[in-house]
Amino acid sequence: MTSKKYFLWVLGLAIGLPLAWVTYNLCINDFGLWYSKDNCYINKYERASKYLLTKRYIPENFNGLLIGPSYSDNIYTQPIKDFKVYNLSIGGGNATELKLLVESAMNTGKFKILIVCMSPFITKDHGIKSNQLTQTTYIDTLCGELSFKIFCSKIAIQLNSESHAEFNNSQWGTTNFQLKAWKKTKFASENLPYLDLPSEYGSHTDFVDTRAVDQLKELFELARAKNINIIAYYYPIYKGLFNKQYGSQGWKDYKNQVHHVFTEKDLVFDMNASEYREFTRNIDNYSDGHLSESGAHVFSKLLASKVQQWRKQHLHFQDLANSTIDKSH
């Protein structure tokens, strides 16, 4: 080979390879960033994927959001018929990260409902914990590490070397991590010590980070300003675990510290209240503290009926309000 050929090949490949890769990713449009897409599935990297989906896919295809930590990640939102709700929950997500995601979606989207899974885990700390929720992730989809990782993951899925069942319903944002082999363990009382929090954290009531609570409050105020209705539920904790970790007084203390983020207009219900005893006492509804597959289905229906109920009431009030306005005219 001559030096001329060598140089031209180096230059050609150094420019051509990235260009080809960028073009491929533009065409594949995994996250619906570059043109509208009806169904965007998550292949891997839930955090980065959901962040990217808030840019275009979610605002264009949904009018409701469900946010929370991994506790709500496997909730099915299809049963909610009145709204098309995307499950924007992320594993380990805290208030700051959830706020960032919702703000990003609200930038262009018109949402009517925001469902919140309240758990001590979203208020135990603040700040963004991963580097996947930044603008560079945007570039990453074209020519970065993320694009390579997702490409490799797709190949692994094709070769059946990687389970993909957890993302079967991910076009709605549901990430069913319970379907992963290692998570299939049944929740049992001997697993309880594993679920104990590390001693340095103290009890659940001790780790309500006030800045995280403030950020949650800011998020809700922003939603209200955009006429988004808020429905929140306190995550149903398995009764045995609930008694061990909180007790009724501990739970009251925790709620006292966070409950002020809601207003009277919001619909808030506590799944740990006695009326939901049947659910929280049924061990089949749980796997390792998270909801099991069957538990998630049961809860999803319950949530859908709550939303439907609220919707009817809300419409009734709205009708009343409208008629009052009409009469005054």
Partner: protein, 514 residues
């Protein structure tokens, strides 16, 4: 503008090359003018007002060189004036703050002066010009033309952090009509060297940096560190500084070669050296050559007895240390190297006296020499990197505490066999946990490249020879050819490095500070 930045790689370098070769097609002088202007633009990119510093420095030295040459009777005072002006400027920008800090230590009245920003590359272009003045003063050369001189001083690949080019190597290249002509070989060799340098800097040095920073910063803040963390941090810095600086040198040599200019060799596998004397022949070769020619030899060199030779060595190395920066760490670093050079010379004399010189040809002697030299150099880098001498001492003390085998729990969890002969402690610093990839990937990669792989000069020896004072250079076991392996190697290095530049924050070259 850093070599390892997108604006340099995708903007400045291709444009400068295009302009240069377009001008070169018309005539040589125009090409040199283009090269000077682009180099000045490159310098001004960092801080435009400081362009004045380099322009004034060049004007003064060029004027002084002609005056010295034309007025033989007054050449001595003129030379001394030029020397003082150069050293004065260097002292002002580099050492004033340090000087006042030291004065304030010994008196009650606090002399406050604002932080003086060090003009980039001042240590390098000042030394180049001192050498030039000195050789004219000694009558070794005649002053060159203004354009040749300005191109020699400002030529951007070497302007900021060397190699410290010598006028005898460079000015003939900027003076000859034949040089700098368009040539595909220059571009091919240049881009390959540049890509290798970029890989060394962005992929290896920058990936090692967090480990070193973690250990040195924690020590400075008074946090306790484990012996294993201290070793890892020091080792990381030892390789970081090598790959950072030798990567920069490769990039400089590669960029210059694209313009058809050959720069001097600056590194030749220094960590493979079997003695500290050897180390200084292979580490920052252009600085060692400068210190030898313009400091050690004028001081008397090895001409007036053993004692004076050792004294001269010590002075040279202490001043070499101070050249790197204003701080006691650099003084200690230089002094340690000076003392070790003395011991090494004395040892060689002893071997000679006992007629045991053949020992050095034994593999075990060489192996022991490499280990000892590396260990010594590594310890010395602690003084070079630490924020102050007490931090350095603290790290050395921690490192020396190897009988007390405390290992982070994460490490023991990964390699349970370690539990049998060590104490497991929580990851106090978290170094192992947070920098697992550095310890498992980048440190071994760095060690493999530094100790096993042929260096850039050996790799390129089929197509490229830098100016080098080294007597004989062996070809590496892996050599450059115009083939697909090298194409892929170059493209991979370039793309991998550029990708890292885009996703990580770019860190400056360590030698920009010196």
């Amino acid at each position: 503008m850093l070599f390892s930045s997108i604006e340099f790689i995708a903007g400045f370098l291709p444009i400068a090359l295009l302009l240069y070769y377009l001008a070169r097609r018309r005539n040589f002088t125009l090409a040199m003018a283009v090269l000077t202007l682009t180099s000045l633009f490159y310098y001004a990119w960092w801080n435009p007002p400081y362009l004045l510093v380099i322009v004034l420095s060049m004007a003064a030295n060029f004027g002084a060189s002609h005056a010295i040459y034309k007025w033989p009777k007054g050449k001595r005072p003129l030379f001394l004036l030029g020397l003082l002006a150069n050293l004065g400027a260097l002292f002002f920008f580099k050492y004033t703050n340090f000087f006042f800090d030291q004065i304030n230590l010994f008196q009650t009245h606090d002399w406050h002066i604002d932080k003086i920003i060090l003009p980039l590359g001042i240590s390098f272009f000042t030394f180049q010009q001192i050498a030039y003045l000195f050789d004219i003063y000694q009558g070794k050369i005649r002053p060159g033309k203004l354009l040749t001189y300005t191109t020699f001083v400002t030529f951007f690949p070497q302007l900021i952090a060397g190699p410290i080019v010598h006028h005898s190597q460079m000015m003939p290249q900027f003076d000859k009509d034949q040089s700098g002509q368009f040539n595909w070989q220059n571009l091919s060799v240049g881009i390959t060297l540049f890509a290798l340098g970029l890989f060394k800097k962005v992929i290896i040095a920058d990936n090692l940096a967090p480990m070193a920073q973690l250990v040195f910063d924690n020590t400075h803040q008074g946090h306790p560190i484990l012996p294993i963390d201290a070793w890892a941090g020091t080792l990381a810095y030892t390789f970081q500084i090598y790959f950072d600086f030798s990567g920069y040198s490769d990039m400089a040599i590669g960029a210059a070669r694209m313009f058809g200019i050959i720069l001097p060799l600056n590194f030749y596998s220094p960590y493979k050296s079997a003695s500290i004397i050897d180390f200084w022949r292979h580490w920052h070769i252009t600085l060692s050559s400068f210190l030898r020619d313009y400091l050690y030899i004028p001081l008397g060199g090895n001409r007036s007895g053993r004692f004076n030779r050792y004294r001269n060595l010590l002075i040279t190395m202490v001043l070499g240390g101070i050249w790197h920066g204003a701080g006691w760490g650099f003084v200690i670093w230089g002094t340690l190297h000076g003392l070790c050079l003395i011991i090494n010379h004395a040892w060689r004399n002893l071997l000679k006296l006992c007629n045991l010189q053949t020992l050095q040809y034994h593999w075990w002697y060489r192996f022991t020499g490499i280990c000892l030299t590396f260990l010594f150099v590594m310890i010395c880098w602690i003084f070079f990197r630490a924020q102050n001498a007490s931090d350095a001492w603290q790290i050395i003390l921690t490192m020396s505490n190897i009988t007390h085998m405390d290992l982070p729990s994460q490490l023991v969890k990964d390699w349970p066999f370690l539990a049998h002969w060590s104490n497991t402690v929580p990851n106090a610093l978290g170094a192992y946990h947070t920098h697992k990839r550095i310890l498992r990937v980048w440190l071994p990669v760095a060690m493999f490249i530094a100790f096993i792989m042929p260096n850039s000069e050996q790799f390129m020896s089929t197509k490229h020879h830098s100016h080098s004072p080294l007597p004989q250079k062996k070809q590496g076991w892996l050599v450059f050819n115009y083939d697909w392996v090298c194409i892929l190697l170059t493209v991979f290095s370039l793309l991998f490095a550029i990708y890292n530049m885009m996703t990580n924050s770019i860190s400056e070259f360590l030698y920009y500070d010196f």
